[in-house]
């Protein structure tokens, strides 16, 4: 057995489900409270906030202005089709909106929560029929496609609805993360617990925000997700988003076939564990690894403080996207932590045995899922030169 130098390979260790449950019930943060963690989480969320701002704007633009467009060649240009913008896009001087679409597809595919239920409802079918009827009147290609494949355009509208809902969700999260950076800068946030509380407060404040989506077709405003559907931010979009993107995720294209042959992919979609909390940061920037796009986007907006922090560690600029991914994973544990803290069935300080039992069951359910996530990033790590 060869001797492997200890400084080459590091294992963070994994807390057990019981330890995680105890932390959640005790109001402790999952991520260890250290000054380094605070810099990583706040600054990476600051960068993420900038990226989400662009993602949100583009997703809403796509859903509202590119609906049922047969060839949406300019969907990433946000309506600015100038030669300069097209050149920047082709020259890859741009945000990778493909990653935003990847997240939307994950939400649409896993299909959990109120939004998904509404997309299969009668009122939604009626809205689709109205939109398709108007669209096919003006577009011969759609008029040909619809009778041949009656489910196709409806599925495209479902995708557009999910796209818009995700755009609205990210609008809120973008503002929240940018506010967090400002709060840390002026001293209102000084620990990981403050970060979790700040995010929790933001999520709770936005919980009841309505999620609606309407489009203009031939000068007429038509609802896809009408206000009367009663869809709200937290329950119908945020929770399904966490389920689809943080927890379940999708096995990456290219690895699917190999993993399926090795019986490594569960036949039960609900058991999938490929989300942000389970992802391996090391292959970042490898071929076919979609989060690489997000890391590249965040790299464009990296605050100087975090950039300098990265430059002092491991390969400096050489592996900066891997380090962004590691920090991002830590920040996503904080967001999950905030979401769990904000959705306990009863206050954590409650003395009522029934309330305590319900809280314990809720914490245990989360802990069992998180116990197999990449919790090795949560502990305090020795500095690596």
């Amino acid at each position: 057995m060869p001797i492997i130098p200890a400084d080459l390979v590091h294992s963070g260790g994994m807390p057990s489900a019981a330890e995680l449950e105890a932390k959640l019930l005790g109001g402790e943060t999952l991520l260890a409270n250290t000054p380094d963690h605070l810099i990583e989480v706040v600054d990476v969320l600051n960068s993420y906030g900038e990226v989400l701002d662009a993602y949100s704007t583009n997703l809403i633009f796509q859903a509202e202005r590119q609906l049922l467009l047969p060839f949406p060649l300019f969907k990433y240009l946000d309506g600015d089709n100038s030669p300069a913008k097209i050149w920047r896009h082709l020259n890859h001087d741009r945000i990778n909106f493909e990653y935003a679409e990847y997240c939307m597809k994950a939400m649409l595919w896993h299909g959990t929560g109120g939004l998904d239920a509404y997309l299969d409802s009668e009122p939604f079918a009626a809205s689709c029929a109205a939109i398709i009827s108007k669209k096919t009147r003006r577009d011969p290609l759609l008029a040909l496609l619809h009778p041949l494949f009656p489910g196709f355009l409806i599925e495209l509208i479902r995708a557009a609805a999910t796209t818009h809902a995700l755009g609205q969700f990210w609008r809120v999260m973008s503002d929240l993360f940018l506010d967090l950076a400002r709060a840390e800068a002026d001293g209102r946030v000084a620990s990981i617990d403050d970060v979790v509380e700040f995010i929790k407060a933001g999520l709770v404040a936005a919980a009841a925000n309505p999620i609606t989506y309407g489009v203009e077709v031939a000068g007429e405003h038509l609802w896809v997700l009408p206000p009367k559907a009663g869809l709200t931010f937290l329950v119908d979009v945020a929770v399904p988003y966490v389920e689809a993107v943080f927890l379940r995720g999708m096995p990456f294209l290219g690895t699917v076939s190999f993993n399926a042959q090795a019986h490594q992919i569960s036949p039960d979609q609900a058991q999938f564990a490929y989300g942000a909390l389970y992802a391996d940061p090391l292959p970042t920037m490898g071929s076919g690894i979609p989060p690489s796009l997000l890391m590249q986007d965040m790299y464009r907006h990296l605050p100087e403080r975090l950039h300098s922090w990265y430059l002092q560690r491991t390969r400096g600029e050489g592996d900066v996207r891997v380090k962004i991914c590691m920090s991002f994973q830590k920040s996503m544990f904080c967001v999950t932590n905030a979401a769990i803290r904000g959705t306990f069935p009863h206050p954590l300080g409650s003395t009522d045995p029934q309330a305590r039992s319900a809280n314990r069951a809720y914490a245990a359910a989360w802990a069992s899922r998180l116990a197999v996530a990449r919790t090795d990033c949560l502990a305090v790590k020795p500095p690596v030169a």
Partner: protein
């Protein structure tokens, strides 16, 4: 003109030895690189003066040294030796460049490097058997020192084994040369005139047998290969580059120049057996490489296999096969040097060469992606992918040999296929998959390890990049090397052809 190729490295040795004070390693290295650069430049001057259309020895220099012993200082260069002189110049320079962090006695280390380079030049240029032998022996002790002093943990074992094997090789070669003088009753040790025709076939076979084993050890051919994997495993990267790229070629050069050149009749008689020996060596080297888990041992066993092609080509004795043998010597020199350089980088960064431990080194940001890319280029070249040096060499060897020895050639082609097998195993194990430097026992734990390998600086890959470019250059434009050697290699086949014609009872 040719003496300067000896003078430069040996003067460099003197310069290093007499350098006043205790100069730093960096200064010794700079001086060595300047000397080696000068030697390479002079090799190119020789190339410019060389007439490729002339098959005879050129730029000859001679003066009597010890007449009574038949030792004459006589140098010359032809299309067989010139490519090897160029390879020696280039690879010694590469070895000097990739030498870093010599922790002890840098003055002696670099001096030994220059001694080896000068001795190898001498051996390739010598036109006198005893002079060849002197230079052949001269590189042994420096190489032994380089392994024994600057080698790995088991360097004492590996270096002693190397010394015993190669000393036996030297004794056999000297014995054969002296035997030639004894049987012919002359002390003329010059390469020409060939005096062996005066010998009875039995005597020729005995002397040729001794030379075959002597050079077979150096090449090395199965079953005399045993020293090579250990020597490579314990040698430092620059020494492995020299050993695989240059020193093994002394053996193959000896096979072509002395075994085939001095004993054409006996060679023609033994050729069918030699072809089978070549195929066995190719298959053994390839199969043994498949079984290795140490990257360096795998590359070392691949050398055993790839050197077998040269014996096959020599046994076939056709113009195409002999030219293919020259190509194979050059391309194996470049490719094996490239592979050893890259294995050296992997070892320096990870501390291991164990294929059960290394995984995913192609990882773009945390692994060694450029090293991995060059490794893929190297293994493709070694496996004979078209467009690279390995292809044109193997193609010429097989094309030139198949009509003479179809079975042995086909078996050797299987060995060529096996090259792809073991090198793809190497690439798949060490470079693909999830990055890790640990045994893959628990996949879950394995997938959670954070790996912090030091980055490879661009300057560390410059020598490997240069070799990769040379591999492509020879693969894409083989005409230059072919033109350089064709006249000489075609002339070499005339003598055995004559002998074979005589044996079959007629000349036409």
């Amino acid at each position: 003109m040719l003496s300067i190729l000896l003078l430069i490295p040996f003067a460099g040795v003197l310069l290093l030895a007499l350098w006043p004070g205790r100069p730093a390693e960096g200064r010794m290295r700079t001086v060595t690189l300047l000397v080696l650069g000068l030697q390479m430049a002079w090799s190119l001057v020789v190339l410019a003066r060389f007439d490729p259309g002339n098959s005879a020895m050129q730029l000859q220099e001679s003066f009597p040294w010890v007449d009574i012993l038949g030792l004459e200082y006589k140098l010359g260069v032809d299309g067989l030796s010139l490519p090897l002189v160029l390879i020696n110049g280039a690879l010694t320079l590469v070895a000097g460049i990739c030498t870093r962090d010599i922790d002890k006695r840098p003055r002696i280390y670099f001096a030994l490097l220059l001694v080896i380079s000068g001795a190898v030049n001498g051996a390739f240029l010598a036109e006198n058997l005893l002079l060849f032998f002197l230079f052949y022996e001269l590189e042994l002790i420096p190489l032994w020192c380089l392994i024994a002093v600057w080698g790995g943990v088991n360097r004492a074992y590996a270096s002693t084994k190397f010394l015993i094997f190669t000393a036996a090789s030297g004794m056999l070669i000297l014995g054969a040369f002296l035997g030639l003088a004894l049987y012919t009753g002359t002390v003329d040790f010059s390469l020409t005139p060939v005096t062996s025709e005066r010998l009875a076939m039995g005597s020729q076979l005995v002397l040729l047998g001794a030379l075959l084993i002597g050079f077979g050890i150096k090449v090395p051919l199965f079953p005399f290969h045993n020293w090579l994997p250990d020597a490579h495993t314990q040698a430092s990267t620059p020494v492995s580059v020299l050993l695989a790229g240059v020193l093994l070629k002394l053996g193959t050069y000896g096979l072509l120049r002395f075994c085939m050149g001095l004993f054409p009749e006996a060679w023609a008689l033994l050729a069918p057996g030699l072809a089978i020996w070549a195929a066995v060596s190719v298959l053994f080297g390839s199969l043994a490489a498949i079984a290795q888990t140490d990257m360096k041992r795998m590359v070392a066993f691949s050398s055993v296999g790839h050197m077998g092609y040269i014996l096959l080509a020599a046994a076939a004795v056709t113009p195409v096969s002999i030219l293919g043998a020259v190509f194979q010597m050059v391309s194996h020199g470049l490719i094996s040097a490239l592979l050893f350089l890259l294995v050296g980088i992997v070892y320096r960064k990870t501390g291991t060469r164990d294929l059960t431990v290394l995984h995913g080194l192609l990882n773009p940001e945390r692994g060694l992606p450029f090293t991995g890319t060059l490794m893929i280029v190297g293994v493709m070249a070694s496996a004979g992918m078209p467009g690279m040096a390995g292809f044109i060499s193997e193609f010429m060897v097989f094309r030139g040999s198949i009509s003479a020895y179809p079975v042995a050639t086909l078996l050797s082609m299987v060995g060529s296929g096996l090259t792809a097998v073991y090198f793809l195993l190497l690439v798949n194990r060490a470079f693909f998959g999830r990055l890790a430097v640990t045994p893959l026992i628990d996949p879950v734990a394995h997938g959670r390890l954070d790996v912090n390998l030091a980055a490879v600086a661009p300057r560390e890959t410059i020598p490997a990049m240069a070799l990769a470019v040379a591999v492509f250059a020879i693969g894409m434009l083989p005409y230059g090397l072919g033109k350089l050697s064709e006249a000489a290699t075609t002339a070499m086949v005339q003598l055995p052809a004559l002998a074979a014609a005589l044996q079959t009872g007629g000349l036409g």
